[in-house]
Symmetry: C2
Subunit: 409 residues, 2 copies
């Protein structure tokens, strides 16, 4: 039998999806599984998207421009302008999800063996795309104790080498819910300029910030216009994960023209998705208010309940719809697997994402899980019941054997 590639074998398994077979098995046994493992909200998809698809009357579903339909890119440029992100439509490439935007950005700016610095824990698929491209992720560790706020800038500077090509951020942060401030980003700008690095920013959750401060984009930073690369997606903004439409946005013309070579190789982004994405831009403010209030209520409920559980600690996330919680268990991955394989509470269980897969440093996150608050309060309460009851009877639980873990915010 011919061999598998070494890089294929090295590809990390998604911490979000690798337990899926256990969840499928639990469902086959008739157990109801609450999915808190994946950022798949139950919020209705923006209705204008679905309407646009129903009204899409063409005889032939053709390839589009490799950078996406011009009409869509122009509307997207208007959307960004309203957010104080001044870009031209030629600075925008429509991609197959934010995933493809990350992939194109990495391939266009980094070679095999190059390094990108990312505060950990970080969205696990950054690791996957880096691994697929032969790029090394260099982590700078943030801590649950201060709500995963941006590590001191010196920590970034310490790990810069001759191979460092950029710094990557998710803001608001997936998986931590941390929100980096304008001051944080100004700090980062200094070293971006000093070392002439790229600043990759995944800002797909910008509509979901729960503080009084206005969200500040890296695209607003002056003086590093050719260093900043924005990753965007319709998935979370319009609760349309399956549409698979994202965008790569940069004022650096060399990056756009290089990314275009990758884009041309795959011909075009999905046509149906582009129609939906373009229509979504006219989504009225009420849609976002409803979603926002819903997420805020869920967050508050989730965090309060988690912190009331013995030995559990969860900082208050300020944006997006995730949190990382510390659990009183020997190994969060074993616990998450056990919840699916060997446990149910009144015929129900919960799927969590073990946080170790969101860290690049081996051994970190072993007692943490990422929880996505993407289910309505009722479902969320059932899911939390499962966690609470599970922690009591899980063979590797620590709450019977030790004092509650002392952690402060």
């Amino acid at each position: 039998m011919p061999k598998i590639s070494q890089r294929g074998l090295r590809m990390p398994q998604s911490p979000i999806r690798k337990l899926v077979p256990y969840a499928e098995e639990a469902k086959r046994k008739g157990i109801k599984v609450y999915h808190l493992n994946i950022g798949q909200p139950d919020i209705p998809t923006a209705p204008l998207m679905l309407e646009a698809i129903k009204n899409y009357n063409v005889k032939v579903v053709e390839y589009s421009h490799s950078a996406g339909n011009e009409s869509y890119r122009r509307k997207l440029a208007d959307y960004y302008k309203r957010l104080n992100i001044n870009v031209d439509y030629t600075d925008i490439m429509i991609t197959t999800g934010g995933s493809e935007a990350i992939n194109f950005a990495f391939l266009s700016t980094m070679d095999e063996g190059d390094e990108v610095i990312i505060p950990e824990p970080f969205y696990a698929n950054y690791n996957s795309f880096a691994s697929a491209a032969g790029i090394d992720v260099v982590p700078v560790t943030s801590s649950i104790q201060n709500g995963f706020s941006l590590p001191p800038i010196e920590e970034f500077e310490k790990v810069i080498t001759a191979r460092t090509r950029g710094i990557m951020l998710s803001n608001p942060n997936n998986p931590t819910g941390c929100l980096y401030t304008k001051d944080d980003l100004q700090e980062l700008k200094r070293i971006i300029q000093k070392y002439d690095l790229y600043l990759f920013a995944d800002e797909v959750y910008r509509e979901f910030c729960y503080t009084s401060e206005k969200f500040y984009s890296v695209m607003e930073l002056e003086g590093i216009e050719e260093n900043t690369i924005l990753i965007d997606s319709v998935s979370k903004r319009y609760s349309a994960c399956g549409v698979r439409i994202g965008a790569l946005v940069t004022r650096n013309k060399n990056v756009i023209s290089t990314a275009m070579r990758y884009a041309m190789a795959r011909l075009s982004p999905p046509s149906f998705g582009q129609i939906a994405g373009e229509a979504a831009i006219d989504t009225p403010a009420e849609y976002f208010e409803t979603a926002y209030n819903e997420y805020l209520q869920r967050r508050n409920y989730l965090v309060e309940r988690l912190n009331k559980m013995k030995g559990v600690f969860c900082p208050l996330p300020k944006g997006a719809f995730y949190t990382i919680a510390h659990l009183p268990v020997d190994d969060a991955e074993k616990f998450a697997t056990w919840l699916l394989k060997d446990f149910n509470y009144n015929g129900q269980t919960v799927m969590l994402a073990p946080a170790s897969g969101f860290y690049a440093t081996p051994g970190l996150g072993k007692t943490e899980v990422r929880i996505a608050y993407v289910l309505n309060i009722e479902d969320l309460s059932h899911a939390l019941d499962c966690i609470e009851e599970g922690l009591k009877v899980y063979p590797g639980t620590l709450i019977r054997h030790s004092k509650p873990v002392a952690l402060s915010v």
Copy 2:
């Protein structure tokens, strides 16, 4: 300004799309451009696909399984069974176009510096995906003089090295229209077995074969079940290029499970496209008969007219909807550019794909173009008028200065 990656700079530009800016400029000047450069048929998309999208009633467009919807994969397995390709639905991964299937296949089976042998000329984007993955394409040259038939098997064996991991074929062939026979594939099987290589086969044009022989798939070859990897797509079969749905099909479980890691990183293939793709499987035979007859008529018309032009030679393609023609010009890329930039015939011109981009050997294909017969006979006739008139007045034409080029089939 931060640097572009070396691999980005090395990425070949698509010969199919790199002249697009000139075509756009011509259109802005009011010139009608006939697109023979790209496999974008004017045949109506299979109606069941569009109906399915119109009737798609969901509240939330969710991520799907990373390998694609199970219901779709099961129906696709039935479709393959009808073609004598016996696979289970677990052998099938739904991808974002055939492009992503190629990408996943390459990354899962080859490392940087590994080699894949491909008869040239070949679909240019194989080069792009190989380049993006750091894989070297080793060409075995086929010749316009014998209709680009499969080179002798010894030619393949000659270029096998310790880094060779596979052989790739497109059958029926894009860009040549050549159709490899069962005997050809049995020959290839010998060296696939002997060297334990992968056999990657892009068979997206299987419904369009214009000989009396039944199309024979590599998946029918016995004894190399774990070596064969099938690339598929709905784009051509159902004239649905913009839908961006393809498939990676292999009975090699290690390849599927490795490809799944790449698939999980990008979460899922497009949901709308999957709905359309699943519906397409019930497309009635009449749809294919109509399309088939249309392509056959176009092919015959195109090849006859081309071969009547002074100095032009075009073999008779036996499948797909492309042909490679030799033109009496100094440089086909210059000619194709000139047609868009400096020429029009009654306010019309034509866009061709220079064939050099379909060869890996430098210097080959310089006087050849790929022509896609994707337009109706009337448009095709206007497009051919443009080629014919263009050849008379193009500054680098050879027909005024030399005898017609003598080439025999």
